[in-house]
């Protein structure tokens, strides 16, 4: 007589699959704030970062990010899902920020003291700050300040394109959806903005 040993299957690892944005949006549209909270957690860093690089001010970026998400929550019922939630909320945030910047008349206070310590170990920055150039004694914070000053000299649209592409790393296609224009326009704006920045920072880039 042979004993049959019933081998129990190994317990399945319960992996919680991340809920799709669309499902979260549908739940949030029914008034579930927890679902909207999750959407906020997913995109808060990217939205904040974009607004920060647009305004060069932490408090303004904080206010604008909150306002964008509040407006998003209130307008959520009208969100049809033609684009991704990410693109939609980005568009709200960006439009709000551009309106804000138009109203802000030279009331610019840069708050650049929050630079993360790890930046000092970035090889690109080390190379840029240690290279022989007319400002070889330039330190990291000064370089960032010069860069931000140059960024603020750009028009809102050109600053936005540079921020979304070169800082945030979005593709031309994504930027064209956010800015509601074609990719050719995005490319030309990006080219022009880089030319301007290079001219402003010629002392540090040559």
């Amino acid at each position: 007589m042979t004993e049959t040993v019933l081998e129990q299957p190994p317990p399945k690892k319960q992996t919680v699959a991340p809920i799709d944005d669309r499902a979260l949006v549908r739940t949030a549209q029914n008034g579930d704030f927890e679902a909207y909270d999750e959407l906020v957690r997913r995109y808060q860093e990217r939205v904040y970062a974009t607004l920060y690089h647009m305004t060069s001010n932490h408090e303004d970026a904080n206010d604008l990010a909150q306002e964008a998400f509040i407006k998003g929550f209130r307008a959520l019922k009208s969100f049809k899902g033609d684009s991704s939630f990410f693109t939609w909320i980005y568009r709200i945030a960006v439009n709000r920020t551009i309106n804000f910047l138009k109203k802000r008349n030279k009331r610019i206070h840069m708050s650049l003291n929050d630079l993360e310590f790890n930046a000092e170990h970035d090889p690109d920055l080390i190379a840029l700050t240690s290279e022989k150039n007319p400002r070889r004694d330039l330190n990291l914070v000064e370089l960032q300040e010069k860069l931000n000053e140059a960024m603020l000299k750009l028009s809102h649209i050109h600053r936005l394109v540079v921020t979304l592409h070169d800082v945030q790393g979005l593709s031309h296609d994504e930027i064209s959806k956010i800015m509601d224009c074609n990719t050719g326009t995005v490319r030309s704006r990006l080219f022009y903005a880089r030319q301007q920045l290079q001219a402003y920072l010629s002392d540090y880039l040559t």
């Binding site: 920055l125 290279e131 540079v162 800082v167």
Partner: protein
């Protein structure tokens, strides 16, 4: 150092380093809570007062605000003009406070009432019934919407049993 020679590449590297600019530690972990608190606070304030509601409505619709302002101004102007007319009338009216504060004359004074009506219709007439002359002069009230001090004119009617 593998420093790129192309200025455009250098610029891209420099811009990429802006990613290191971060908000204070713990900012993002508290962001959703702060957002919810602000949302709830704004919803509370939004309907906390009729005035706030009006401001919000008119802030969104400037044309409505203009129409409302013009209508209110017209109403105030009309009210002011009306009060001027009533002031003039009350100055010649035998009754303090204006013609709208009528009084019922006692029986037996109907002739005097007729005389008073004639005077009211024709203020230039110098004929005034003696019985209508007050002991104290009747000052016309300056109140338009408030309650004026009512002074009844002293009447001298023959005593009747």
């Amino acid at each position: 150092m593998n420093q790129p020679k192309d200025p455009t590449e250098k610029l891209k590297n420099l811009l990429a380093c802006k990613r290191y600019e971060q908000p204070p530690p713990g900012y993002f972990s508290r962001f959703p809570e702060r957002l919810r608190a602000r949302l709830e606070a704004e919803e509370f304030v939004e309907y906390s007062s009729l005035w706030q509601w009006l401001v919000n409505k008119f802030d969104a619709k400037p044309v409505v605000a203009c129409v409302y302002g013009i209508a209110l101004s017209t109403l105030l102007l009309a009210g002011f003009n009306l009060s001027q007319v009533f002031d003039t009338e009350s100055a010649v009216s035998p009754v303090a406070g204006g013609p709208w504060m009528g009084w019922t004359p006692p029986t037996g004074l109907m002739d005097n009432v007729e005389l008073a009506r004639n005077r009211y219709r024709n203020p230039s007439s110098s004929v005034l019934p003696v019985a209508f002359l007050p002991v104290n002069s009747v000052s016309s009230s300056r109140f338009v919407f408030g309650t004026p001090i009512q002074r009844q004119p002293a009447l001298f009617a023959p005593f009747q049993d």
